[in-house]
Symmetry: C2
Subunit: 209 residues, 2 copies
């Protein structure tokens, strides 16, 4: 088998209809993310998503099956984009401090935060199709905070905490970030990073005992 010519063929194929299909799919997911961020999932119609990229509702259904299928694609994209790199190797309070990088990232990706908070608030309704995703996301994020707070206690960076206290502190950390982001989205005078810095420093000082 001629590998070179196979590769060349594949490259040609990528410039052809297949690549165009991938690109169109990506445009649709981006448009859907914008519309869901602005109007919510329930309030964002397939028609208005289609209009942004100049395709019919029927075409959207061809690509994604249903509106729920499109939501799944948007959530997958959101999860990929909202995960800032560089925190994986960190331990204990170094990881907690790296949440500041996440906030810097968020400050320049307003649409992602708007999308997540809008879908999260909608998903407080048990019947919402994003509920399971959002619940898993929170469970994962809280668990990550718990794990790193445990490490910080083990390393003597933080005074001893009971299991319940570690979970509560993890939840309060995540709660503060959500609430800060919400106020920032609503009021352009709110300085996201200044507010987060005060929260972070006072929390770390409190944990140090």
């Amino acid at each position: 088998m001629d590998v070179v010519s196979e590769t060349a063929k594949a490259a040609r194929a990528e410039r052809g209809p297949y690549r165009k299909g991938v690109q169109r799919r990506q445009e649709i997911v981006s448009a859907a993310a914008q519309v869901f961020a602005e109007r919510g999932y329930n309030g964002g119609s397939l028609r208005s998503i289609g209009e942004r990229v100049g395709v019919s509702s029927a075409s959207l259904v061809q690509y994604f099956g249903t509106k729920e299928g499109l939501l799944t694609a948007v959530l997958e994209e959101w999860a990929r984009e909202s995960r800032p790199a560089g925190t994986d190797g960190l331990r204990g309070l170094a990881w907690m401090r790296s949440m500041r990088e996440a906030m810097v990232y968020n400050a320049t990706h307003r649409g992602l935060i708007e999308l997540f908070l809008t879908l999260t608030a909608e998903a407080t309704n048990p019947a919402h199709p994003a509920r399971t995703f959002v619940q898993h996301r929170y469970a994962m994020v809280v668990a990550e905070h718990q794990r790193h707070l445990h490490e910080a206690v083990a390393d003597g960076e933080v005074t001893p905490l009971s299991e319940t206290e570690v979970e509560q502190e993890a939840r309060l950390f995540v709660a503060a970030m959500d609430g800060i982001e919400l106020q920032w989205l609503l009021d352009p005078r709110v300085d996201l990073l200044e507010l987060f810095d005060r929260f972070l420093e006072s929390t770390l000082a409190r944990w140090a005992g």
Copy 2:
């Protein structure tokens, strides 16, 4: 003028078409609040609101003009219901502590919290019709927290804070409450009051210096 018979006439009138109209109007506002809490303002249709109370979309328009008129009525009702009594005379940290009563109230009025958080998240979109209401609400709530924190500093309950620090602490207090409520709505295992109590006590201890 015969006052008694005038009163009797008024009472008969209240049992008549006028009273029925007031009652119907109230039913519509309650149904709209439920639908907006479940699906958001953008996602909640006049048709689905009408179906809950057995009236046509045309009747809704007769009562409230537009969907936005109905939203205004829902927000007015929300503002009335969500204001727990008994905190008006309190000062400084006593007022801050009374936020626990607000949380106890919220814990038994899940629909009100769901309505407010859903509309707030939608209103992160500058074009949302509830945006001005939500922005005013936050400005007022943050200002109330600032005022009482100022009192606490003046009374020596809290160590001195700069003007900027008072505003930041007020915002972080409100942010924590929003974030805690969001997690509680998403996860039935979250204990709203336990989480709030830990937040409140650790914040008061931190402020005491």
